[in-house]
């Protein structure tokens, strides 16, 4: 499978013109993060877990520091919290724009890749590359570098920033906000298959903000829990064809995380400009066609540009770039919104800060069952297509979820019993 992050393949079995089986096979070799996190120091969690994914390392760093701070009974607030949101804005912009322009748009316009697309639509591709670059600039500045930032620590940051340093981003962010708005309009004009299902959308929810780092975990079918209750309601199943575990809601089965879930559950928290763009794109407050995820990703990119501008303009340099936190034993939980959806971390640490146990549930594994169910519903509708066209349509359907496959192979399910 191409234009997804990581190694995966699609298997469809058709017999007498009926779909007999659909499998999303994951070949990603397991790296066993949760196993080797044991016996490491709690301060290493953000740097180590970042290596789970090169596209969304900030998401791992955020979930890691929030979970550790939860274990230590600490709360990082004020401008340090705003800086974390700013960093997350940078990642959302970079990740979403990579996906929209380079991985998904070529499907809608009939190109094998963005380079070929650039031959006919050079200015559009250049707009995408410039927009992605601005997302990366935020991450480079606040995080130190674009991939595997080095400035994030439990308690805050190693190095702080003056307002003037952050304001170097402002001009570019204003351009980015306009470019993101154009991206919403551009993607809204693509041709979308008529496809909807009755999904259970799951995302964070916060009383005031469009969610990034904090909130309760909710769904459109009645779920409303704290991050610490995640494992009471969700479980993972190990299937033979995938080294990525399938995540389900204990009460109800498959569910859907990511931009469309966030949008449907938090529309009212979007700033005016994003809501306006949604209206102009003829997208209601709710959307259940996963092919339109590309438009919703564009709206979230616009939100992230607007939010970054707000944070920079309201920024007031804190006295120190981090809070000092005493080390105590404990167990901590967190759930933050990676570009692809909710990312859950849990850690147990001893009184010296050594990690005893770790559990990490990435968004893509949470969408796997839903992706397969989508394909099961989608393939029969297109069964008359020649194989190569059917394959491409199915790949496009999988890319609706912007799957991050390297991430999706890292989970902890059992404890080893020693006698």
């Amino acid at each position: 499978m191409a234009r997804v992050e990581g190694e995966g393949a699609l298997y469809i079995k058709i017999k007498d013109n009926a779909v007999v089986d659909v499998k999303l096979k994951i070949f990603e070799p397991p790296r066993f993060f949760e196993a080797f996190l044991r016996d490491r120091d709690f301060k290493e969690a953000p740097d180590i877990t970042a290596r789970i994914c090169g596209i969304c390392p900030v998401a791992y760093q955020m979930s890691a520091v929030h979970a550790m701070e939860n274990a230590l009974g600490a709360n990082v607030n004020g401008q340090l919290r705003e800086l974390r949101r700013l960093l997350y804005c940078g990642e959302w912009i970079e990740s979403h724009v990579l996906h929209i322009y380079m991985l998904h748009a070529p499907d809608f316009l009939g190109y094998d890749d963005a380079i070929r697309m650039a031959k006919d639509h050079r200015e559009i591709v250049e707009r995408g590359l410039k927009l992605k670059k601005i997302g990366n600039q935020i991450v480079s500045l606040v995080g130190g570098r674009e991939i595997h930032p080095i400035n994030v620590k439990v308690g805050g940051f190693y190095k702080g920033f003056t307002k003037a340093e952050l304001e170097t981003l402002t001009e570019n962010l204003k351009w980015a906000r306009d470019a993101a708005y154009e991206t919403v309009l551009w993607t809204s004009q693509f041709s979308f298959p008529d496809f909807e299902r009755d999904y259970e959308f799951v995302s964070l929810s916060h009383p005031e903000e469009y969610p990034f780092n904090e909130g309760r975990i909710i769904s459109n079918k009645g779920l409303d829990i704290k991050a610490s209750e995640y494992e009471d309601h969700f479980e993972e199943i190990h299937v033979k064809h995938s080294t990525a575990l399938h995540s389900v809601l204990k009460e109800r089965d498959a569910y859907f995380v990511g931009p469309m879930a966030r949008y449907n559950l938090n529309f009212d928290r979007l700033p005016a400009i994003a809501q306006e763009a949604a209206r102009e794109a003829k997208l209601g407050k709710e959307c259940r066609n996963p092919f339109k995820s590309i438009v919703i990703r564009s709206i979230e990119t616009l939100f992230a540009c607007e939010e970054a501008l707000r944070i920079v303009s309201e920024y007031d340099k804190p006295k120190t770039p981090f809070q000092v936190i005493d080390v105590v034993e404990g167990e901590g939980f967190s759930c933050t919104e990676a570009p692809r959806g909710i990312l859950f971390h849990r850690y147990k640490i001893d009184d010296c800060g050594k990690i005893l146990d770790a559990r990490i549930v990435p968004p893509t594994s949470q969408n796997q069952k839903t992706i397969e169910n989508d394909l099961r519903a989608f393939v029969p509708q297109h069964i008359d297509l020649p194989d190569d066209k059917l394959t491409w349509q199915c790949e496009q359907a999988i890319r609706n979820y912007d799957p991050c496959i390297s991430c999706s192979t890292h989970f902890l399910k059992l404890d080893v019993e020693r006698s």
């Binding site: 080797f36 990366n136 902890l412």
Partner: protein
């Protein structure tokens, strides 16, 4: 008469994907690079696949499964020039932490059905299996160095990736030594340059993500870390991270096992 463009292929093994993403992060240079080289096989970026042999192959990720052990040989055979990119490919990566433990225990910790999982005891570098023409260090690699490697290949010259320590770059940038001035542990004296002294410029000690420099004096650094009050366990963890299985770091961490 137009000259045929050399064919580029990008391959993935056990990795986070960050190093190949660096190529897509060359926003200003990407279209220019695509003018000079044919992107023939780069699944993350394109559905189009041109058959080998390939002129230049970039390999990311470490070898961790029997299937991958075979696959790397096929890739070597179909590549004229093979460049490994990133700590996973050059030293086995952070996942080489399994090499110091029992992988069967790891499997049973993570997977309910261990019989579905096929994996090797160790995570190893690409060069442990096939001849490698050039190694680009980093976790992740520096994208400017990646463009330099591709440009060097096209112009038949040696890439500019000095193997001296991070300390040299700190001195060049006028950064006050974090170890001397604050007592922060720093692997800079034994770590390969390439990041432009990134961590010291952000008020923290280097943690060695570019791997060992040429001829590192890891024993002397350990003695200094001890003098700063670090325990054997802390020194062991410092050397046993993203390049844990690179020989000098591997040996130094073992010297501190209790």
């Amino acid at each position: 008469m137009t000259k045929k463009k050399p064919k580029l292929a990008v391959w993935k093994f056990a990795s986070c994907d960050g190093c190949q993403l660096s190529l897509l992060d060359c926003e200003d240079d990407l279209l220019a690079v695509a003018q000079e080289i044919e992107i023939a096989n780069f699944p993350e970026a394109s559905r189009a696949v041109l058959k080998g042999p390939y002129d230049l192959s970039l390999v990311e990720g470490s070898i961790t499964t029997p299937h991958d052990e075979e696959r790397i040989h096929k890739i070597r055979k179909s590549s004229k020039f093979l460049v490994t990119i990133g700590a996973c490919a050059t030293s086995g990566g952070i996942q080489a932490l399994r090499n110091f433990k029992d992988v069967n225990e790891f499997i049973s910790i993570v997977y309910a059905n261990p019989s579905y999982i096929e994996t090797l005891k160790k995570s190893t570098a690409i060069a442990d299996h096939v001849r490698v023409d050039f190694e680009l260090r980093g976790c992740p690699i520096n994208k400017a160095q990646l463009v330099d490697v591709i440009s060097s290949y096209l112009n038949k010259r040696k890439p500019v990736t000095p193997a001296h320590s991070v300390c040299i770059d700190c001195k060049r940038k006028g950064i006050v030594c974090v170890m001397v001035s604050k007592g922060d542990p720093c692997l800079g004296p034994v770590t390969h340059a390439g990041c432009d002294a990134l961590c010291p410029s952000y008020n923290r000690g280097c943690f060695g993500c570019y791997g060992p420099k040429e001829n590192p004096n890891t024993g002397a650094l350990s003695a200094e870390l001890k003098r700063l009050g670090k325990t054997n366990e802390e020194i062991l963890l410092a050397f046993r991270s993203f390049n844990a299985y690179a020989d000098p770091f591997h040996k130094e961490s073992e010297a501190h096992e209790e």
